[in-house]
């Protein structure tokens, strides 16, 4: 099978029935594996890693803070991709997938902000600072809230999908800034990337990096969060597809009298 035909095969999942059949089949794998990875990663990190020489036991917050922050940004990127698919190809499943992912992104952003504030208090001496990364993350959180509110506020689903897709395009600037703000504005309290940087993991660059003793349980947690995100988005998209079908059936029932 050529790459082009493989890519074309992806569009089959724009069919709600095909999407539901496939996701129902793979969902148990994603639920179970995400639970296993998250539990193993957190237990490993919490119980079996030492304190950091600078940050003491607060380093254990990394196992929740980093995966949730990563997923908060990646969730918006996924929403951007599905919104573009909606705008270009008008596949309803992609618009519903973006809608289904938004509350997951809200929770991930909230966890990142809350754990960041709790961690920042003893390390920086403050819960909050108007630092580039923190501020862009807060704005991303507000964009998530606005996105969900816009879906709820508009009656016609296609208009709602159009407008939320445009909002998603605009908000992508802040998803991008949340990741790279530290690099653009070399100021603020938040450190630069010390995990998702190839050189930081392999040791080829000399900047500060996360020690492998913390990195491996962190990697397990990140995999767990990614799997949980996939499980939640599949399940919640299935819910949105069914909710849309209920509306269509009731409308048809009314027309038929």
């Amino acid at each position: 099978m050529s790459i082009a035909s493989k890519a074309n095969a992806l569009w089959e999942y724009a069919n709600p029935k095909k999407f539901l059949t496939t996701t129902e089949r793979v969902l148990p794998f994603f639920w179970i594996s995400s639970a296993v990875f998250i539990v193993v990663g957190l237990v490993w990190g919490f119980f079996f890693t030492p304190d950091d020489y600078k940050q003491g036991s607060t380093v254990k917050i990394i196992y929740l803070h980093v995966p949730s922050a990563l997923m908060a940004i990646n969730c918006w990127i996924m929403m951007l991709a599905t919104s573009l698919v909606w705008l270009v190809r008008r596949h309803h499943v992609s618009a519903l997938a973006a809608r289904a992912a938004a509350p997951v992104g809200i929770v991930m952003t909230l966890i990142a902000l809350a754990t960041g504030a709790i961690w920042g208090q003893p390390m920086w001496g403050t819960w909050w600072a108007w630092d580039p990364r923190l501020t862009s993350f807060l704005i991303l959180f507000l964009f998530y809230l606005g996105y969900v509110a816009l879906w709820e506020a508009i009656e016609d689903p296609d208009t709602a999908a159009d407008l939320t897709s445009v909002l998603c395009l605009v908000g992508s600037v802040f998803a991008f800034l949340s990741r790279y703000a530290v690099n653009f504005w070399n100021q603020g309290l938040h450190q630069g990337a010390s995990v998702m940087r190839v050189g930081a993991v392999t040791g080829t660059d000399t900047e500060e990096k996360v020690s492998n003793i913390f990195f491996f349980p962190l990697l397990v947690c990140i995999i767990g969060f990614v799997l949980l995100f996939i499980a939640l988005v599949f399940y919640r998209t299935g819910t949105e597809i069914r909710a849309r079908r209920i509306k269509a059936l009731i409308a048809r029932e009314r027309v038929n009298g």
């Binding site: 254990k60 997951v104 966890i111 809350a114 709790i118 079908r245 029932e253």
Partner: protein, 52 residues
């Protein structure tokens, strides 16, 4: 076998409690809404097939 968290025990435990609460709430609320919608769809489909 609780590890000794020292003077940061409150900080670490409150971060874990808040995060796990939010994660569990997200999963539980997603599943509850999913079940409700699935049950409603079955009901509507049955009614539709009964009424032709």
């Amino acid at each position: 076998m609780m590890p000794d968290l020292g003077k940061y025990a409150d900080t670490v435990l409150s971060a874990y409690a808040a995060s796990l609460f939010l994660l569990v709430a997200l999963v539980v609320l997603s599943i509850l809404r999913g079940r409700k919608v699935r049950a409603e769809m079955e009901k509507v489909e049955k009614r539709m097939s009964r009424n032709g």
